[in-house]
Symmetry: C2
Subunit: 126 residues, 2 copies
């Protein structure tokens, strides 16, 4: 058994557009934009959505949204999603980037939430 939950919605913005994108979303959602010091490609939109981390991610690619799944077992969660028809398109540190049926991107990453929050909200998979 392992557990997972949707952890975050990422607003992927091309580098040249990232500052404009961040300024827009911060004002549109009425929340402060906070750079993540250790990970300069992320700018968090603090408490923009309930129970879901929201952030701009600077990408060297087209604009898009993607969802992050956090899990206590990256291998098992990746295998679960692959069995449902996803394909792995990249691996970055401990994260796996998957293209899922329909063409959307998701990432699978180790648990980022506080343990008690993850315990309260994660689904358990056989």
């Amino acid at each position: 058994m392992h557990r997972s939950r949707v952890y975050a919605i990422l607003i992927d913005a091309p580098e040249a557009e990232a500052a404009r994108s961040t300024a827009f979303w911060s004002a549109a959602l009425g929340v402060p934009a906070q750079p993540v010091p250790s990970e300069p490609q992320f700018i968090t939109l603090h408490e923009a959505l309930p129970g879901l981390v929201t952030a701009v991610q600077v990408v060297d690619d087209a604009p898009r949204f993607h969802l992050d799944f956090e899990t206590d077992d990256v291998e098992a969660e990746t295998a679960r999603l692959l069995a449902l028809g996803a394909t792995q398109v990249a691996r970055w540190q401990e994260c796996r980037v998957l293209r899922v049926p329909g063409g959307h991107l998701v990432c699978v990453l180790p648990v980022e939430s506080p343990p008690e929050f993850f315990d309260a909200h994660a689904r358990t998979w056989p």
Copy 2:
């Protein structure tokens, strides 16, 4: 003054992929997929995310995610987002489709949530 909130995340799926996309997301999130009888282009993923409607929307376009903003004043909310740099790209019934700085799509639509839920969670804009 008017109010708005992020109401929904839409998983836009090309028609040819919509059934596969719906099956994937229903299984991946562990929730039932429920067609919306009056609006056949929407398939709701029931209670997939906290406080946010999640649905597959069948589109005649590339796969993408988009966000819906619900508001008690579509004109005022559209004007607010245009002033922040968005451009209107389409109008569909009472909804406005905007491309926002960075290149992402959002829709602005009249309040869909129960009034007391909207009142409790919407932001007020001057």
